[in-house]
Amino acid sequence: MIASMEILLNILSVLFLAFGVFFMMVGALGLVRMPDVYHRMHAATKGVTLGISGMVLGAAFSASHVGIVPPYQIITTVTLVIMFQFVANPVGAHMLAKAAHLDGAPPWEGTQSDELREDAGR
């Protein structure tokens, strides 16, 4: 492989990995710092979805210059993982939020309106 190509792939890999790890840590930090269940769900799900996408892209760029597999194999897996995460994480968070609301998890005291509760007439 050409040396400059290798430099470029290493730099891209490190950049995407740093992006992913940063958003992973932001998601975990939001899980601790946010005041109630719904805020925590918002922060953790968004941050972690973006973080896993960045890390998987970094793995793709890192593996494509090592020469252990043809690049299309790892790119297929990476596309599958990213698409699945972008579908599954919001669905899971919505189900969990609906369940927590049905179970009566207390919202933050600064919450202005709760339209789901008004619609249910409770």
């Binding site: 899980l31 979805t49 890390m55």
Partner: protein
């Protein structure tokens, strides 16, 4: 010492752990980034353990487990880069499926008594 599984597929078998003496600055940078990433993801998982232990509501714990599952995927990816193998990438797919299934199961577990009560109210009112 060859890995015993290299006879199956020499092209994709794990090689030895990544060489400790890279010959260029960008290879040093890649190795350093992977090591720092492993430490950061581990710290993030410990933060999630805090929420898992302390979370006031059951949904908090379920959310912490979901976040930890996805951070575990990130850790597996970092180890795959560190050991220069692609064998873990299928495991990444399986782990993401399992994390989603666990979240859905926990949501159903939390919501089921309330859904059953709502259905019984609808049946007694006779307009269901």
């Amino acid at each position: 010492m060859m890995h015993p599984l290299t006879t199956l597929s020499a092209a994709s078998a794990p090689t030895d752990p990544i060489v400790n003496t890279p010959d260029s600055w960008h290879a040093w940078m890649a190795i350093w980034a992977v090591d720092v990433g492993i430490v950061c993801i581990t710290i993030a998982m410990l933060i999630c353990v805090y929420r898992l232990v302390r979370g006031p509501h059951l949904a908090d714990r379920a959310l912490a487990v979901d976040t930890m599952a996805i951070e575990l995927i990130g850790l597996v990816i970092l180890l795959a880069i560190k050991w220069r193998t692609t064998w873990f990438m299928d495991g990444v797919l399986v782990l993401s499926l399992l994390g989603f299934a666990g979240t859905v199961a926990m949501a159903q577990y939390i919501a089921r008594p309330h859904l059953r009560r709502a259905r019984e109210m609808t049946l007694t009112q006779g307009d269901g």
